[in-house]
Symmetry: C2
Subunit: 281 residues, 2 copies
């Protein structure tokens, strides 16, 4: 049973995980590792019980939740092994998993289990944290060996993920990275490319003046923060380029089908997938 949970990086995701744990009945202590200003806000919001230095938090925690940016997770992993309790579970919420899981693969102490909650908001920071952020959302877990899911701590993490309303889904780090390249990184690149090409258009003001709700939806992802995407692109570039090239081929097909009056099939298949996606939820 987790008695103490340490959240390293108390932002939107880390803060929401803490609030969600509380609402789901977690009775133990939640420590936050962040800047003094963030700790102050996290204490005020009730997300954490106390702030702590990373070393102190790792020495006390049964579950360490790394919720910072990918580059900070990659920096933290090699430093914390020495401080962990022997049975401690460390998980993270980074958006790519191959490099992160590889960084912890040699650990002799504690256990690392990569994670990726498929939830987010346009706004960041602990002020936007929300106990219901994970409700109804997939929560991907990426063991490097299937047996990893059988430890007591891993089973308990899965239970908490279910209690906060998310849907745990297990796959390898490599499968994860290829899958999210298609499900998440490709839509981001399309939204950014669409917004950038319209923004560069000499008639950008007229285009914006004629925008309906469709363009607003289509450019929502383009608002995403570059600092986050820098890390994602940096740690999943080959899979993203492959997804982009696959889209280029599909786009050329759709263009050809439009020109030759045969694009109905693309609309039917696209609508079916969009509908399927919504029924899954």
């Amino acid at each position: 049973m987790f008695q103490t949970v340490a959240i390293a990086g108390v932002g939107l995701i880390g803060g929401s995980f803490a609030l969600a744990l509380r609402r789901a009945g977690f009775q133990g202590r939640i420590l936050g590792v962040s800047s003094p200003r963030t700790i102050e806000r996290a204490l005020a919001s009730g997300a954490i019980d106390a702030g702590a230095a990373l070393e102190e938090a790792c020495r006390e925690a049964d579950l360490v939740y790394l919720a910072g940016p990918i580059h900070s997770i990659l920096e933290i992993i090699p430093t914390i092994e020495q401080w962990l309790k022997p049975d401690a579970l460390v998980t993270d919420a980074g958006s790519t998993k191959g490099r992160i899981c590889a960084a912890a693969a040699g650990w002799q102490r504690g256990q690392f289990l990569g994670g990726h909650p498929m939830a987010g908001k346009e706004v960041r920071g602990v002020e936007a944290a929300d106990a219901s952020l994970f409700e109804g959302r997939p929560y991907l877990l990426t063991p490097v060996r299937p047996g990893q899911m059988e430890s007591g701590a891993a089973r308990e993490l899965v239970q908490w993920i279910e209690r906060i309303g998310a849907e745990p889904n297990v796959l390898s780090p490599e499968e994860h990275d290829r899958t999210v390249a298609l499900s998440s990184h490709l839509p981001q690149m399309l939204s950014t490319a669409l917004a950038a090409t319209l923004g560069r258009n000499e008639r950008a003001a007229e285009i914006a003046a004629a925008a309906g709700p469709g363009l607003v939806d289509s450019t929502r992802l383009a608002l995403s923060a570059w600092e986050i995407w820098h890390d994602i692109l940096d740690t999943n570039q080959p899979a993203i380029l492959e997804a982009m090239d696959g889209f280029t081929a599909a786009w050329q097909d759709v263009r050809g089908n439009l020109a030759s009056g045969k694009v109905e099939r693309d609309f039917v298949i696209g609508a079916a997938f969009a509908q399927y996606l919504r029924e899954k939820r």
Copy 2:
């Protein structure tokens, strides 16, 4: 002053325009031209005062609002001129304007002024009609000659558009079609192409299981009805193909920038346009 308004095609848009007119204080009579089943529903919702045949409605109306699909607007235009009151204004809500405005260009009786409210919903039909559908949305008007906006009836239409909370915006039919090819048709084709390529992927189920809110937003337009898009693609194909080719070039640039570590600029320009779009609203 409009005493009688005829709505030909009392669906989501036609029904919402009628409800919006009422809420904005229109005191005259609203006639609906649709199938008997739709007229029954439109009467029940309070959108219209009575059903009528197209000829009867056109003989009585000061404003005729063509809200059906583009192909039905194109069929109606040549038939109704003979029935119009000499000062009647006919407008429409079709999503493309070049072909529609050209069809009425030779009218000797009444006045035709093309329109395009940039509003919609995924659901269709008069049951989904909503008096606030046009609030805060652009409402494009496409005179074939600038002087057309100066007639009494055109001025009154602009006033009603403002009273229902929409923002009138005047441009030529050709400018309209090139602009919406970028602001509306390109996002639709991207959403359809994305959903179709993921739907055709052998790992479509895993991709859907890993979907976050970004993919849901990015595939919303892919749910659009083919019947509507058939007409749009059919009447604006050259401008849409041009917009698609422009996107292909931009997409290749973004791909190259990602591969060479220079994609930050695309994120910055994309985010700025997405933000600008929202501030405009």
